[in-house]
């Protein structure tokens, strides 16, 4: 079979000499023809995209792909997952190996422009934070002058730390440790006063690694912005719109109280916003080039945004994250869906 795919590839290469590929940029057609969505995910990041004990991918980023597949194909299980490393992910998307990249990728200007990508919304707002032992009595990151900080070497974590302390005219000693386990051990053994990494990471380290989670506090300041969301290629606006509006639909559903359980009865709702979203009032699906039940399919497959969050990363999971800035705008968070009309 491997030989067969080699032959197919060779034929495709030869064919390319004669004619430009007819399907470039036509992601939607390609997905429909194939009957499945190819989704690039992380090789293993608990809560976002990681294989479970049965080898089935699960997580917040994974459910975004399930929702998109449900909206386009009406079948949430019609997703093929491709595990990608941090180095591979953009090439895989650019070269068309995957249709959509849903792999805890931070939305930045250069990625959005020079790399030829389109970020279709934000599904998780992360940011670098600080954790300190409660007994130090520190309540704000601005009181950390002179502290010893445990940090993993990495492109941005270390730089953000240095930038933040310099900008606020404070000193610090960095204890830089490569391995995740060792940096945890160093912090909990008291080798440093402060531990810094992404806030979602801090919360889960506190809940799973700390001998006593109540002895540690995560300070309110986030010193970097890490908005994570699904990404598609430049130049295919139709598919870009679909992914964007599936994300909005999941958020809107939470705002309107539509859940996986009640989406059936919500079809008969009098609320015009709900009727438009779920397709009881026609028009939205057609505008996206999908069937009218696109949002209904997505929500009945994975639930609304809040349900996805609670299922994979929320307080009852092993990550144990609060909604925080990932709450709806109506409750003081940043999740805001554009009106579907």
């Amino acid at each position: 079979m491997m030989i067969k795919s080699m032959l197919v590839a060779a034929t495709a290469l030869v064919a390319f000499g004669a004619a430009a590929p007819a399907f470039a940029g036509e992601s939607l057609d390609a997905i429909r023809e194939r009957g499945s969505l190819i989704c690039g995910v992380n090789t293993g990041l608990s809560g976002f995209s990681a294989p479970d004990s049965e080898g089935v991918y699960a997580g917040l980023d994974v459910d975004v792909c399930h929702a998109v597949a449900a909206a386009i194909l009406g079948d949430a299980s019609a997703v093929e997952f491709v595990a990608l490393t941090a180095q591979q992910r953009f090439t895989a998307l650019q070269s068309g190996e995957v249709d959509i990249l849903s792999r805890n990728t931070t939305w930045t200007l250069t990625r959005d422009t020079a790399l030829g990508l389109n970020f279709a919304g934000v599904t998780f707002y992360d940011g670098q934070g600080f954790m300190v032992p409660k007994e130090l009595g520190v309540t704000s990151a601005l009181e950390l002058s002179g502290a010893t900080v445990c940090v993993q070497p990495g492109t941005t974590t270390e730089l953000n730390l240095a930038d933040y302390f310099r900008a606020n005219d404070m000193d610090f000693d960095a204890v830089v440790i490569e391995s995740f386990e060792e940096v945890n051990a160093a912090y909990f053994a008291g080798r440093c006063d402060v531990y810094t990494t992404d806030a979602s990471g801090l919360a889960s380290i506190r809940s799973t690694v700390a001998p006593n989670p109540d002895d540690h506090v995560i300070l309110p300041e986030l010193i970097s912005k890490e908005p994570l969301g699904p990404v598609v290629r430049h130049g295919d606006d139709e598919f870009f719109d679909i992914v964007k509006w599936v994300v909005f639909a999941l958020i809107e559903a939470e705002e309107k109280g539509i859940t996986q359980a009640n989406v059936e009865e919500m079809l008969g709702s009098d609320d015009p916003t709900i009727a438009r979203l779920l397709g009881s009032t026609e028009g939205m699906g057609e505008a996206l080039g999908l069937s009218e039940d696109w949002a209904y399919n997505a929500i009945s497959a994975v639930g609304n945004y809040g349900e996805i969050f609670e299922r994979h990363v929320g307080v009852d999971t092993s990550l144990g994250l609060e909604r925080g800035i990932n709450d709806l705008w109506t409750r003081g968070g940043l999740m805001y869906a554009m009106p579907a009309r």
């Binding site: 590929p21 049965e54 591979q88």
Partner: protein
Amino acid sequence: MTQVTDTTPQDEGERPPALSVGPLGWMRANLFNTWFNSALTILILWILIETIPPLLDWVIFSAVWGDVGPEPCRAGEGVGACWSFIHEKGRLILFGLYPSAEQWRPMLVMVLFIGLVAASARRELWSRNLAYAWGIGAVVMFVLMYGGVFGMEYVSNTQWGGLPLTLGLSTIGLVVAFPLGVILALGRRSNMPAVRSICVVYIELIRGVPLITVLFMASVLFPLFLPTGVTIDKLLRAQVGMILFAAAYLAEVVRGGLQAIPKGQYEAAESLGLGYWRKMRLIILPQALRISIPPLVNTFIGFFKDTTLVIIIGLFDLLNAAKAALTDREWAGFYMEGYLFCAIIYFVFCYSMSRYSQNLERKLQTGHARR
């Protein structure tokens, strides 16, 4: 070591002193013959006593076994290895993302594969039929892995993983790379300048970069040269990269063997009127390959372990699947167990290869080997 022992009862006075024969005598002669050796013996004994019981305790006696979840492993001090982690994640480590309902298929593939390898290890079975068996076996294994026929569900190769992937990548890699390596080695010793320079450039170019770079090129750079929408299977790209890499190394090993063959052998073959290919096939290569067995197996073992580098292109080979299993927050921290489990599997395969090659060397030796 059979000794004829005199069993006639002896008087007390006729027996040699207890300290010069038997186990005590042996210990005195070998372990305590000088003060330095005595000190070393005592030191080593002390180290063993200090390390072995805690290790056994950790691995076996205090370990947590069975399907009990992560809680008993976190019960506190004195709890040993958490083998319930392997119980829970063993499936993921061994078979990666392969759908669990279809798990019997990779399992059957492994049984078939190990059966074929075991059959090939017996020299009396070496015949044309064995080659046919491998050919049919390979087709059956691919059909089982992919499915899509005979009512088996189709499983895309993006879902392959674990041990079948590790074995597949290394076996296919070596089987294809070996003849390529032989040809490259012959090419490098060829009298034709064009052939020779192509082979030299190829070998030196590939050997000049790390395998991780070759894989990276294959998985990250290569797709950028293709038009959008045209993609070549990720697994295939990795496999081709590994074949090209292994071939360059094998070529140098084989060339070492070729250089060890005396010039007289070449001349003798030529005086028999053999052409180049028959000379190589009948006279030179059989001798050259035989003396290359130790470095060849060395390369095989290295290559088998190098397959773990596919981690950088997101394939779930045995080690990467174990790493993925370790990312589960519920089971966070059981690194020792996960890596030990993989290490044992790798050891079993590498050690078998090594033992078999020693065996083969003994059987094939015709005068080169030193006793």
